[in-house]
């Protein structure tokens, strides 16, 4: 199981509006691993999604270091470090069936039992009967569930999630969060979960990192010591969420 080390990472965008460059992230450092569930929390524009794309390697232009157990982010594909990614939208290939969507990424995962894993994970997210359906035949929530299955199925060293439930209605979102926590506890994966929803962060995470300011910095980094399984109606959860909301609001300036 891999850990992740983000060391003094800064990032700027070249922008026409700003004479030379627009800084978006400044001196971000943290480490995670051992099956932690870390939420990166902040308002839109704080650079949290940008940080996730730096960690995934999609964006390679930044200062600082990002390592997975000593493997740099640039080398991670060659070194066989696997990431699972759940995006804000499901990003399924619309011309492939649900099962083929999973097989598409599993085939290249280097896993011995890749065929079985597709069926196993479809069953785990409750979509066994929809294996042969095309994505457009599923509801938004079901599509995101396929996306979740895809990310878990490749047996990732780290799971990255970029506001995966923000496009769902509250009830579907609640069900999916509970499901995600179950899967996380079963697999013991390290999760890095980006969100702007304080309540969601408190409900899911056992550690919350708040990004704030312009450019984005870490303004808060603390564990969430609530027992699992968690309860939506828990007053402690609510109090914590209110506290975090204030942290995020004060970080704005």
């Amino acid at each position: 199981m891999a850990s992740i080390a983000v060391d003094d990472v800064s990032k700027h965008f070249i922008s026409r509006a700003h004479a030379d460059r627009l800084p978006v992230l400044q001196n971000i450092s943290f480490t995670g691993g051992n099956g932690q569930f870390i939420c990166l929390l902040g308002r839109s524009g704080c650079g949290k999604s940008t940080l996730l794309s730096l960690i995934s390697g999609l964006d390679e232009e930044f200062n600082g270091k990002i390592n997975f157990d000593g493997v740099t982010v640039a080398e991670r594909q060659n070194a066989g470090v696997r990431l699972g990614f759940v995006f804000q939208s499901p990003r399924l290939l619309p011309w492939k069936t649900v099962r083929d969507n999973l097989l598409f990424v599993l085939r290249r995962s280097g896993l011995q039992d890749w065929r079985e894993r597709a069926d196993l994970w479809l069953e785990r997210v409750g979509l066994k009967d929809f294996a042969k359906a095309y994505p457009h035949e599923l509801s938004g929530g079901m599509q995101q569930r396929v996306s979740l299955a895809r990310a878990f199925a490749v047996d990732p060293d780290i799971l990255l999630m970029d506001e995966p439930f923000s496009g769902l209605d509250e009830f579907t979102g609640r069900a999916m969060r509970t499901e995600l926590l179950d899967l996380w506890q079963q697999t013991g994966k390290t999760v890095l979960f980006v969100t702007h929803n304080c309540f969601e962060a408190c409900f899911l995470a056992n550690r919350v990192i708040v990004l704030g300011g312009q450019p984005g910095r870490i303004v808060w980094d603390a564990p969430i010591d609530l027992d699992h399984p968690r309860d939506y109606e828990d007053p402690d959860l609510f109090r914590l969420s209110v506290k975090l909301t204030h942290v995020v609001m004060e970080s704005a300036a």
């Binding site: 995934s56 390697g57 999609l58 594909q77 696997r82 990431l83 699972g84 990614f85 995006f87 939208s89 990003r91 290939l93 619309p94 011309w95 492939k96 598409f104 990424v105 290249r108 995962s109 095309y134 457009h136 035949e137 895809r150 490749v154 990255l160």
Partner: protein
């Protein structure tokens, strides 16, 4: 109970209605079109506008005297030849331009110039370069059609978003596989649409090429009928041409498209 039957017609009923819509509506449209044609012919007189009946009769004569086959076959071969040249070139250029900024800048002007030059110029030039032969015809048809296909494919490729590609990348899918399994399927609809459009253009240019410098083909026959002011034959050849186009559309293009895009949701208005 009575209301529910109306609200939820059983599947068989719906299929029946769907089938009727597919056959009956185009049928009615055809009858109306012929009716309008007949009325116009009656008003203007056969000298200016032969009606559907004499036109069909002339077409039958053309079939009987083997003129249809000896002229339609070379025309179709020219269309296919020119179209094949244009499709291959157009798809290559369009895809390259859509995927690479530098190639786009480099090729854009050329394609635009190619699009601006009237087809007549290509035809004359090709006849001058290659002589009055099939090669000239195919090159001229290809040159005229190619920029249209290139531009359609180019704008299509440009419009595909990088989200799926990024997804595949994060899951460690190789560049080669991303090109063939993620990008190519997204480009296919644009290639098919461009082909359809380009095919229509190729037909029209072919007629023109035959009229300008060849001694057989539908275009040549049209011109010949025009020279001797045989209005009924002009209509008969045009009708033949239209029928062939419709058959190709219904027998080739539509089924191909339906098969290629069977994964797509049905659009219901």
């Amino acid at each position: 109970m009575g209301g529910s039957v109306l609200e939820y017609p059983p599947v068989v009923m719906r299929r029946l209605i769907g089938g009727l819509n597919k056959i009956v509506l185009p049928g009615i449209s055809l009858v109306v079109l012929c009716g309008l044609w007949e009325v116009a012919a009656l008003i203007l007189g056969a000298r200016y506008l032969p009606g559907p009946v004499p036109t069909a009769a002339r077409l039958a004569e053309l079939f009987a005297t083997d003129q249809v086959f000896s002229n339609l076959a070379p025309t179709i071969l020219r269309v296919l030849g020119g179209f094949a040249v244009a499709e291959v070139l157009g798809v290559i250029v369009g895809v390259i331009m859509g995927l690479s900024r530098s190639w786009e800048k480099f090729l854009e002007l050329g394609v635009m110039v190619g699009l601006t030059i009237p087809s007549l110029c290509y035809i004359i030039l090709c006849f001058l370069w290659f002589g009055l032969n099939e090669l000239a015809a195919i090159v001229a048809i290809g040159l005229t059609t190619f920029p249209i296909i290139a531009i359609n494919v180019w704008s299509g490729v440009k419009s595909i978003d990088s989200q799926l590609n990024d997804m595949a990348w994060t899951f460690g899918i190789s560049r080669r596989e991303r090109i063939f399994k993620v990008i190519a399927p997204q480009i296919t609809p644009y290639i098919v649409a461009a082909a359809r459009y380009g095919f229509g253009v190729a037909w029209k240019v072919t007629i023109f090429v035959e009229l300008m410098g060849l001694t057989n083909g539908v275009g040549f026959q049209l011109n010949y009928s025009f020279q001797i002011f045989d209005m009924t034959s002009v209509f008969a050849w045009t009708l033949l041409f239209t029928i062939v186009m419709l058959v190709l559309e219904l027998a080739v293009f539509k089924p191909t498209e339906q098969w290629l895009f069977r994964w797509r949701p049905e659009v219901r208005a």
